[in-house]
Amino acid sequence: MFEKLLLLVLGAVAAFLSLPIVFILNHAFKPFHELFLFPPTFLVRQPTLTNFYDLFLRSADSIVPFSRYLFNSIIVAAFTLTAVILSSSMAAYVLSKIRFGPKKIVMGGIMLALMFAPETVSIPRYLIISWLEINDTYFGHILPFIASPVAVFLIKQFIDQIPNDLLEAGKIDGASEFQVFIRIVAPLTMPALATVAIITFQGVWGDTQASTLFMQDETMKTLPYFVMSLTSGMANTVAGQGMAAAAGLLMFLPNLVLFLFAQKRIMETMVHSGVK
């Protein structure tokens, strides 16, 4: 009886939490007149692809076409993901398993860095990026994300649980430190790596900071910046609503797909970080 009640309550909560997803899926397919209905509706009545048509083709004759923003976003996201996973996991391995002098200080620094919201460091970031003269380059998008204390911390917690004997067995089997990392540690850390991939992707895919602050050249800006500009004043707000809805769905879909792929791994991480 209690279990049925639980099921009912959890089902209701899940349904409520999925409303935004239902809305975003439907909204993108609404014809122009349905977008402005009051009260607003969740479900689309006369689905149409006009919004996507507008987004892809109509915006093509603007100065920077939609496809350029999309291309930028894909490049930035791909490089950021690779770089974050590589650098964070290697840093985490060293911090977790290798003895060296200032380890505690480094760990302390990472813990401290966990406490800063990205907004608070935007000015120093700007200074660093302009000092490195990487404004208007893809590297300017990527660099701020590579330093990811959350990723290092998460992966380190995971690697901590791998028994040292395994690494020693690897070394005796003939593996170098790097081979131990690639062949033994990395496969066992997959759940944490998947989680880091999702978190990082969400961050970089939705990021407007780099486009707003570090990119002066319009052709170097990314998709979320474009979506933001559609809805906030820069374009005609009324006419842009359809395109904004379609772009919103495009922003959301990659997150969903990545999550569905990595879902099982992520659940493992949640279990691991909670219960030892």
Partner: protein
């Protein structure tokens, strides 16, 4: 295959005041099965880890064959190690676990396969090759860990308490298999254990350690029969040797061991060594099987003591009888008894002193060695 030699090896951890291993000197011959045994914290595992290269050597030299290996990394020492918790790679199948070491050494693929299959056949795990370690029982994991070591065909096997995670029955069985395996492969093996039974049954030579120092290194028979000091005597043998404190007095050219409750005549074979020993404080050590309880045997002996039975433990063929001698407690191992033992009963017992050992209470050294 090769021998191993330790020359004045020390291990000093920064955080600890005294060295964990002190002046470790040992020659291990090619093909030998050497067991390092001692209580936990005695430095046996540290010694093994220094040999494996997982731990740095603070001072001294280690050679495998003629090769000086102090600064050689573990992968280049040509050793294979079996860990207490097996340390199988959980993400790899049994086959891949066994093959990894060969693959990392760039062995040809067909040879990897041949060697893994051969090892699997020797250890009868051929049917498990496709499984993941999590699908195996403890005994099977143990075999895979062994298999991973033998496919490499190394100069030296290192085993760090490989049987301690198995249940008693499986442990005895695997022990026998390990002995068999060693007879077949004849690879030099260094085996660490805290279990004296394993040491006695498996080792062609035993090194007993305590506090980082070698107490005695010899064959099981010598260690059991002629322990160099009271620690070795007490550590090897189950149930362990009984110790009685007292002093030795000389009368009419004969020596007597005596304490508050009794006085025993010491056999002549001790005379020579007792002349030079300090006699005022002596520990008499006698193994449980040398304490007789059969009335017939007791009556023939001149060294009789009366004792009270405290408890008895039936071990199957043997019975361990715990006897109170005033404040002292001794254990007698009785194989067959004509009379039943009842707790609280008084009993005459006899000590076979010709098989006993005398230790200096100060240095704990066997007086026969001095």
């Amino acid at each position: 295959m090769a021998g191993v030699s330790f020359k004045h090896v020390y291990k000093q951890y920064k955080s600890e005041p005294r060295p964990s291993v002190m002046d470790f000197n040992l020659e291990i011959e090619d093909g030998e099965f050497l067991v390092l045994v001692g209580p936990s914290g005695c430095g046996k595992t540290t010694t093994l880890r220094m040999l494996s290269g997982l731990e740095e050597i603070s001072k001294g030299e280690i050679y495998i064959g003629d090769k000086f290996i102090n600064y050689v990394s573990p992968k280049d020492r040509d050793i294979a190690m079996v860990f207490q918790n097996y340390a199988l790679y959980p993400n790899l199948s049994v086959y891949e676990n066994m093959a990894l070491g060969l693959k990392l050494r760039k062995t040809a693929k067909h040879e990897v396969e041949a060697r893994v299959k051969k090892a699997a056949r020797i250890l009868s795990i051929a049917s498990l090759l496709e499984k993941k370690p999590s699908q195996l029982s403890g005994g099977q994991k143990q075999r895979v860990a062994l298999g991973r070591a033998i496919v490499r065909e190394p100069e030296v096997f290192l085993m760090d308490e490989p049987l301690s995670n198995l249940d008693a029955k499986l442990r005895a069985q695997t022990r026998a298999e390990l002995i068999h395996l060693h007879q077949e492969l004849r690879t030099t093996t260094v085996y660490v254990t805290h279990d004296q039974t394993e040491a006695m049954t498996m080792g062609s030579r035993i090194v007993v350690m305590k506090d980082g120092i070698i107490q005695q290194a010899d064959t099981p028979k010598v260690i059991y029969g002629h322990p160099r000091n009271a620690f070795v005597a007490g550590f090897i043998g189950s149930p362990s040797m009984n110790f009685l404190e007292g002093s030795v007095v000389a009368e009419d050219g004969k020596y007597y061991f005596h304490n508050k409750r009794f006085r025993l005549e010491i056999p002549e074979k001790f005379n020579a060594s007792l002349k030079s020993a300090r006699l005022n404080k002596i520990i008499l050590g006698i193994r449980p099987e040398h304490i007789l309880t059969e009335p017939e045997a007791v009556s023939r002996s001149s060294n009789r003591i009366s004792a009270t039975i405290d408890i008895t433990e039936l071990m199957g063929s043997d019975t361990y009888v715990y006897l109170k001698l005033g404040d002292d407690m001794v254990i007698s191992r009785v194989v067959e008894s004509s009379t039943p033992f009842e707790a609280g009963d008084k009993l005459e017992i006899a000590l076979q002193l010709e098989k006993a050992h005398l230790f200096d209470a100060g240095t704990e050294l066997n007086v026969m060695n001095v």
